[in-house]
């Protein structure tokens, strides 16, 4: 097995893993702030990316404006979902499966709406840069480096946000102990709305970053959600850094099983290893921080 192939497999695995991680990060943020699994996260990413593509290709807007629009739309959508629907369910103490059905249903709706408005074609956005780098024989696109940078930026930003800002602390407190938080004067409902807004924004960022690489289409939502979910859960769900590690783990597992076992058995091998990891490390890769997983 040549070194070059291994290098390329690792580079590809990490790139794909980062994509999963970006989606997973947003899901972890939403879980952290609301104890919910957002099954429409991939669709939010698609909505953000599709909006940007629409603005660039049909409305002929400059890319930066289109991208901002994409983020804004996903954020607004996510916020509206919280205010209009999630809040209602919380008010009546709905069970976990109700939230799951809600977000699955919304995912259906969003992807169908994208199909209806935007069509069936797969679209690419212009990349941040077209440079191509060669490292140990592996081809790495400039976009990948941007994704790494932005993922790191988001991660550090989230860490600082949750640790040092009053708002971040309040958001966390509101989800971990809603009653306790309320007695200390935190507006729990507002915090959850903020969480959803942040989650929507992160979904759009993920969608926008990956569109130059894999192309956006209406039917991409579920696969993004599934991979992001796997990344987030593997990382322990409440830990954004865990989602990053989880995503890269899955990306590398897939890539290496193609190289060393068989491309036909990629999913079977990668997911079997995933199950084994979960059994061995039941709290997620990053340990105890994942206790809140269930």
């Amino acid at each position: 097995m040549s070194m070059m192939l291994l290098a390329q497999a690792c580079a590809t695995g990490i790139t794909n893993g980062l994509i999963y991680a970006l989606v997973g990060l947003g899901m972890a943020v939403i879980f952290k702030g609301s104890r919910l699994i957002n099954a429409m996260h991939g669709e939010l990413a698609v909505v953000g990316a599709a909006t940007a593509v629409y603005c660039v290709e049909i409305a002929m807007w400059p890319t930066w404006l289109a991208v901002t629009m994409g983020m804004l739309i996903a954020m607004v959508l996510s916020t509206l979902v919280d205010i209009g629907l999630v809040r209602r369910l919380f008010n009546r103490n709905a069970r976990e499966e109700s939230f799951l059905l809600l977000t699955v249903g919304l995912g259906f709706t969003f992807s169908a709406a994208v199909l209806y408005v935007f069509g069936r074609e797969e679209h690419l956005l212009p990349a941040f840069g077209d440079e191509i780098y060669e490292v140990a024989g592996a081809i790495i696109r400039e976009q990948t480096i941007w994704i790494v940078g932005i993922a790191a930026f988001i991660l550090i930003g989230l860490k600082l946000f949750y640790k040092y800002t009053d708002f971040g602390l309040a958001m966390m407190a509101a989800s971990i102990d809603p009653d306790g938080a309320a007695t200390t004067g935190i507006n729990v409902r507002l915090m959850r709305t903020a969480t959803f807004a942040l989650g929507g924004l992160m979904a759009a960022v993920a969608g926008l970053l990956v569109t130059p690489m894999i192309g956006v289409s209406y039917q991409m939502g579920p696969i993004l959600t599934l991979k992001g979910f796997a990344a987030a859960v593997l990382g322990g769900l409440t830990n954004p850094l865990g989602a990053l590690v989880g995503g890269i783990t899955i990306g590398l597992l897939e890539s290496l099983s193609i190289v060393y076992i068989s491309s036909g058995l990629k999913d079977a091998v990668a997911l079997s290893v995933l199950i084994v990891i979960m059994i061995l490390v039941p709290d997620g890769i990053l340990g105890r921080s994942g206790r809140k997983g269930g």
């Binding site: 209806y116 074609e121 990629k266």
Partner: protein, 377 residues
């Protein structure tokens, strides 16, 4: 909803209503046909072009006065690329709607499942797939509109060995359609003796196949056969500077895939049936009609769909508009000269296409040109 209405007019045929009723002016009782196409799911990439071709053919026939003075009424169903759904749709069309014949389905699996319902009723089915399993030869009313995978495999290797004159071949294929072709490639290779240096697979719906591409690149093949309904592998191969010529089957030979390929749409050869920029004499009429209607060029899928409707229409004309579905099937079972190619639905493979009817095209900088090469000689 005013917005959706404007979208509807802009996107025209794509969002056309499910039932195409004949326009006013036809007093005669319409002849009812059904269509099962994959308008959503992984098969939509080929299902939608087929839908355009089918709709155009119905419109053209009705404009010319229909079949024996009676217009066609077409019921279009979407199977969502799923064979179970296709069965449900077929049950509806055959037993509830009492259609005379079925155009489609789009996918091999749906063809097998629909065939199981339609064949006992002797209702003609015109799927846009090639004969898949040996047992399908017994289904004498399922007429295939595309070549068998055996023939597709031959058409690819013909070009590789006789035009490119190379033997170092790699294959990148999907786990569905591509997997069937791969099996056939290995079988027919007894005659061609090429060396498959790599055969890699991607799962339907994959968003990235770069690792498979890298594995192929590592074997340094002279040509890569890319088989499956996705633009992603083309992009991924080119992104890692795999610059050898690529070759593909007819499914991906469409302008939509070319657009999705982006910069990768270069130096790709297709074994297909229609290059609309440079059509063969028997294809000119169809290309012109299509261009007038949609303002774009058709490809093989549209032509095949056009032919399917016309072959059924010819069968009905021959058997008489009030004939039973079985009689219509019998009438269809024979030679038919279409815009895509010459068919013979009475052939053992229920298609009758030959290697020589393939047209090879080369994609350069996003443009198709016809390659002067005839296979099977």
């Amino acid at each position: 909803m005013p917005i959706s209405l404007t979208r509807r007019t802009v996107l025209g045929a794509m969002l056309a209503p499910a039932i195409i009723r004949p326009t006013l002016g036809h007093a005669a009782e319409p002849i009812r046909l059904g269509a099962i196409l994959s308008a959503t799911g992984p098969g939509a990439g080929v299902g939608l072009p087929q839908r355009n071709g089918v709709l155009l053919a119905v419109k053209a026939i009705n404009e010319k006065g229909g079949i024996a003075g009676r217009p066609i009424e077409l019921l279009v169903e979407d199977d969502g690329s799923n064979p179970d759904a296709a069965v449900t749709k077929a049950n509806n069309l055959i037993f509830s709607q009492k259609v005379k014949a079925i155009i489609g389905p789009t996918l091999t699996a749906s063809t097998l499942s629909v065939g199981g319902v339609a064949d006992p009723e002797k209702i003609a089915v015109m799927p846009f797939t090639g004969l898949g399993l040996e047992m399908e030869k017994q289904r004498r009313s399922v007429f295939h509109m595309l070549p068998t995978q055996d023939l597709n495999a031959r058409a690819l290797l013909e070009f590789v060995t006789k035009n490119m004159k190379t033997r170092k071949v790699a294959v990148l294929h999907d786990s569905a359609y591509g997997n069937i072709v791969m099996t056939k490639l290995k079988e027919v290779n007894a005659t061609y003796n090429v060396d498959f240096v790599a055969a890699e697979k991607w799962e339907v719906g994959a968003t990235d196949v770069t690792t498979q591409a890298a594995k192929i690149k590592a074997t340094a093949p002279d040509v890569v056969l890319v088989i499956g309904n996705s633009a992603t592998p083309f992009r991924n191969l080119r992104q890692i500077r795999m610059n050898a010529p690529l070759m593909s089957a007819l499914g991906t030979a469409s302008y939509e895939y070319v657009r999705a390929m982006g910069d990768a749409a270069d130096n790709i050869i297709f074994a297909e049936f229609l290059v609309a920029e440079d059509p063969l004499p028997y294809q000119k009429d169809f290309v012109e009609t299509f261009h007038k209607e949609y303002d774009t060029f058709p490809k093989t899928m549209e032509a095949s769909a056009w032919d399917a409707v016309h072959a059924v229409a010819a069968g009905i004309a021959k058997a008489g508009p009030d004939a039973t579905p079985a009689a219509i099937s019998d009438a269809i079972r024979g030679p038919y000269a279409g815009a895509m190619a010459k068919f013979d639905f009475s052939a053992p493979d229920l298609t009758g296409l030959s290697l020589s009817s393939y047209v090879y095209s080369k994609l350069e900088k996003g443009k198709f040109t016809r390659v002067p090469f005839t296979a099977g000689q």
